[in-house]
């Protein structure tokens, strides 16, 4: 078969062997499954925040948002950690949980956390009611409030790889 100098060779897809037909490369851009929640995290789990403004604080994990980030709160009244998004990679999930079945998270949207000035009153309102519900649950367990107030730190002799959280 004679080819003209600038002629491209076009593959006859109908007759070519399947392994010779070019396929598009896998796109890793879209994370189709979404962020998988760590196995031990359950709504109501107490988590230890490891980085950022509130590093060392313990917070209550409320739910996983659509973006894959975790929604946590101190509660604010207890230790100053507000309703906040946090990446689960910067968090240690402990096996302690509190009951969050009575908590209403329906009006919380991710838009609130994108620093929109107009949303602040709604956020403050939700924070207040949420705190009240969570505080009631926290008070049911002995020493839980003091535990939530306290900060986590590694002390001499602590071996994090050996510690059970």
């Amino acid at each position: 078969m004679k080819k003209a100098e600038n002629e491209k060779i076009i593959m006859d897809v109908r007759n070519a062997a399947p392994e010779r037909i070019p396929k598009p490369l896998v796109s890793y851009k879209a994370n189709k499954k979404g962020t998988v929640l760590k196995k031990n995290l359950v709504p109501g789990s107490i988590v230890i925040l490891l980085a950022g403004r509130y590093a060392g604080s313990r917070a209550v994990f409320l739910k996983q948002l659509d973006s894959g980030l975790l929604l946590v709160t101190g509660p604010h009244k207890v230790n100053g950690v507000p309703l906040r998004r946090v990446n689960q990679r910067y968090v240690i999930g402990t096996s302690t949980t509190i009951d969050v079945s009575k908590v209403d998270l329906s009006n919380i949207s991710e838009e609130w956390f994108k620093h929109s000035e107009t949303v602040l009153p709604a956020l403050a309102e939700t924070q207040k009611t949420l705190d009240a519900t969570l505080l009631a649950e926290i008070k049911k367990v002995d020493s839980m409030k003091a535990y939530m107030k306290a900060k986590f730190s590694l002390k001499k002799g602590d071996r994090p790889h050996d510690m059970v959280f």
């Binding site: 402990t94 302690t96 002995d142 020493s143 003091a146 306290a150 050996d162 059970v164």
Partner: protein, 130 residues
């Protein structure tokens, strides 16, 4: 007698070296002056030859015959309450406490810290009152 704990068939031992560190096992047969055949049916390791250097003898002896099979050994240990006897001893209590301490979760460790502070305060008060 100068020695009280003998390497004998049925002697309960604690492994102090190697992969099975900390586990309880029973001497089932003797190979020579430095090695024994040991079996840990209750602590989950298969019968094997171990050097006596890797074992620490406890004061508990099970009444079993030489070369007893693993399942029969497990049954005998349960019937004679061998592990329970060990757990009652000071050594046994310490091992249990260490296991408990290792299994505490973050909240438990916090509660322990509060209790330690409470105890320390009570001690200081008692000393001051003297």
């Amino acid at each position: 007698m100068a020695f009280k704990r003998f390497v004998q068939v049925g002697r309960l031992c604690v492994v102090n070296y190697g992969a099975e560190v900390g586990k309880l096992c029973v001497i089932v047969d003797i190979v020579d002056a430095s090695r024994v055949i040991v079996d840990g049916p209750t602590t989950g390791f298969e019968r094997k030859v171990m050097s006596l250097k890797a074992l620490s003898l406890t004061k508990v002896v099970a009444d079993v015959s030489r070369g007893i099979r693993q399942q029969k050994l497990a049954k005998a240990l349960e019937e004679q309450k061998v592990i329970e006897k060990f757990n009652e001893s000071t050594w046994g209590q310490k091992k249990l406490a260490a296991a408990k301490r290792a299994s505490l979760n973050d909240f438990d460790r916090f509660k322990v810290m509060l209790l330690k502070k409470e105890r320390s305060l009570a001690i200081k008060k008692a000393i001051k009152a003297m």
